[in-house]
């Protein structure tokens, strides 16, 4: 298939997807197209990594080769691993101010609204472009309190012991094929450490931007929330529209110590040529709380099931997930909770919307281990189908190895009712506005959990997805 012309790309971007533009930034370093052990070693050498990390990468690559593609979920057989660039470094050095970035790249961040958001309501920002974090900043008072917020590569240099203690322990390199791939070629991502008792009031945000064609982005994030500490981390992501595929495959590991709380919010809005295959898992210790708020709007295929292992007594885990599958999209999303200690509790709330032939699947696992007495869990998945061509499926797996537990599961599938539409239209709303209103109401239980700015953004993205869907 021929590449779209610039005009065509912009037309597409203006119509449906606002972030489909790209910059003409020349990489300062990149590995060749495709992947072998030499490429893996080259990435590690270029980053001057310690030997244990090089060994970890190579071991992971070997596992990636052996490991078959998953035989469930979305069809991944179309990924051409040989056609991807696995490492692409856009600038020599990370910038301390936005003005230090090359003008074209600076413009991209402005268009995405990141510098403005940083000024208004964020405590820290990391901005990743291709394989590297090109801008990073944390409010000074947080740094003084001992909060560490760095890109993963810098963290490996500056806090090697802490990284080594946790890296690959929550999601082992051989967890699945894409975790293995990430472990082999990871670059960028965030590292956060919040010291005991410190509560980071404003969110920390990372933004992931793919710019080049056939790019593979493999960020690696590790968050450690110490005793009684709190952090809210938010990530957003977009990419240009190309006629060929890009791959985003992240690994996110989180450890929440006793009494701590971590909330991790994602608003994923990749262009529809991106495969988004991400492994996210958190461990919550005694009375700790882990919350995943996961919004999947973009991408061609997403497979992502944020997980919480409730490892200490009284720990609480939540997954709030929204998936919107439009034309040509398959959102296979959900959540996994493991109750591994007594009196733990969890809630999974999943809302999916399918339209224009899109397909959304809820896939969830609820595991209660023997001995996790007094555990409580509630799983609610609601699907909304906008038109006849679209599809939704629910795959709720529940394994209970303990008797003394309380488990609830509810699932609903609904359509936008003709009577609802007529009612709203009789008040002057167009059919599109009426549908969008019904959809935004449908996802409201999740958007109300978001800080205002993100709730507004999510609602706006849903409105955009709804535009042109009816009539």
């Amino acid at each position: 298939m021929a590449e779209l012309t610039r005009e065509e790309q912009e037309a597409v971007a203006i119509g449906d997807y606002k972030y489909g533009f790209h910059d003409d930034i020349e990489a300062v370093f990149q590995t060749r197209r495709g992947l072998d052990e030499a490429v893996v070693r080259e990435i590690s050498a270029h980053k001057n990594e310690p030997e244990w990390m090089t060994a970890f990468r190579v071991k992971s690559y070997q596992h990636f080769l052996k490991r078959p593609l998953p035989q469930w979920g979305a069809d991944l057989g179309t990924i051409d691993f040989d056609n991807i660039y696995y490492y692409l470094k856009p600038v020599e050095q990370q910038a301390k101010t936005w003005d230090d970035l090359p003008p074209g790249m600076r413009e991209t961040w402005d268009k995405l609204g990141i510098p403005e958001a940083e000024k208004k309501y964020l405590a820290g920002v990391g901005a990743q472009y291709e394989s590297e974090v090109v801008y990073h900043n944390l409010q000074e008072d947080l740094a003084k309190q001992g909060v560490v917020f760095l890109d993963m590569d810098s963290a490996l240099r500056e806090h090697e012991d802490l990284v080594r203690q946790y890296f690959g322990t929550i999601i082992p390199y051989n967890d699945n094929k894409f975790a293995a791939l990430n472990s082999a070629v990871w670059s960028g991502g965030s590292f956060i450490y919040v010291p005991p008792g410190v509560k980071v009031e404003l969110p920390l945000q990372a933004y992931f931007r793919i710019n080049a064609e056939n790019m593979g982005q493999f960020e690696r994030t590790l968050i450690i929330v110490d005793k009684d500490a709190y952090v809210h981390y938010v990530e957003g992501c977009t990419a240009p529209i190309y006629s060929t595929d890009s791959l985003h495959s992240a690994v996110v590991e989180i450890h929440v110590a006793e009494g701590g709380r971590c909330r991790y919010t994602t608003i994923q809005n990749w262009s529809t040529n991106v495969y988004n295959l991400v492994t996210k898992r958190a461990v919550a210790e005694r009375h700790a709380t882990m919350e995943w708020v996961d919004g999947n709007l973009g991408s061609q295929i997403t497979m992502k099931y944020p997980a919480v292992i409730l490892n200490g007594e009284g720990a609480h885990g939540e997954v709030l997930s929204i998936a919107f599958a439009g034309k040509g999209q398959h959102q296979d999303a959900g959540g996994k909770i493991t109750h591994a200690a007594p009196n733990t509790s969890s809630v999974i709330t999943s809302k999916s919307i399918s339209k224009d032939g899109g397909r959304s699947s809820y896939r969830g696992l609820l595991q209660v281990n023997e001995g996790a007495v007094g555990s409580k869990s509630k799983v609610v998945c609601d699907a909304l189908i906008i038109d006849e061509d679209s599809r939704t499926d629910t795959y709720p797996y529940i394994n209970i190895d303990e008797n003394d537990v309380e488990i609830g599961h509810e699932a609903t599938v609904s359509k936008i009712g003709d009577e609802q539409l007529f009612y709203l239209m009789s008040r002057g709303l167009s059919e599109e506005e009426a549908s969008a209103m019904i959809v935004s109401g449908f996802v409201e239980p999740i958007t109300k959990e978001l800080p205002l700015e993100y709730a507004v953004e999510l609602n706006r993205l849903i409105q955009l997805q709804m535009e042109g869907s009816v009539g």
Partner: protein, 255 residues
Amino acid sequence: MHDLIIRNLHASIDGAEILKGVDLELSKGEVHAIMGPNGSGKSTLAHVLMGHPAYEVTEGEVIFQGEQVLELEPDERARLGLFLAFQYPSSIPGVTVANFLRLAVNAQRRGPDGEDNPVRIPEFRSMLQENMDALKIDRSMTSRYLNDGFSGGEKKRMEMLQMAMLRPQIAILDETDSGLDIDALRIVSDGVNRLVGPEMGALVITHYSRLLKYIQPHHIHVLVDGRIVRSAGPELADELEREGYAPYGVQEAAV
């Protein structure tokens, strides 16, 4: 020229003809009541006027503000100034009353070429509070989800609040076949009486003459089997109360 003109209106649903030639003229400042037994087509008339997609108009015309409305979508009719108070309003979970009303008011304020002219928030708020006070609606209602878990009386109030906020020129009230209690009758009649005048006319559709003790109609029309079989002044209500629909060949009381 009347604000709303219905001529020889025929409409069917799933191939069955329900309206078999309805004629009616209505202007601002007037209240017309349409009464009729069950299944006579009263509710169908309300839905067809507002443009419900399930009904097919097979003949006739409806002219509102000089425009042929049968080709228009419900939202276009609403923006011309037509309003339907539903007997069974849908609930919209997750959408607050305040948010819904603001978007509906903004939709009404849109210019002829679709250009936005959103209401300023303070103006909206005072308009909303004034109307809620007049209709004795608790302020906390604005943060509830539209009609979601509302009682019958709350739904009635919400319909009247929407009517007050949207300021239609002609309001159609579909009260057909309902067992309205006295409270509900008061809510509806207060809401209508407040607004009927030089700016608004109303078409009140009802099975029971009771409602007409609270809303004084200028004209009463009797709809039987899809046709208006009699039109007269307010005195017709008393006759219907006494005799029911028997004079029209239907053994059904009207009280």
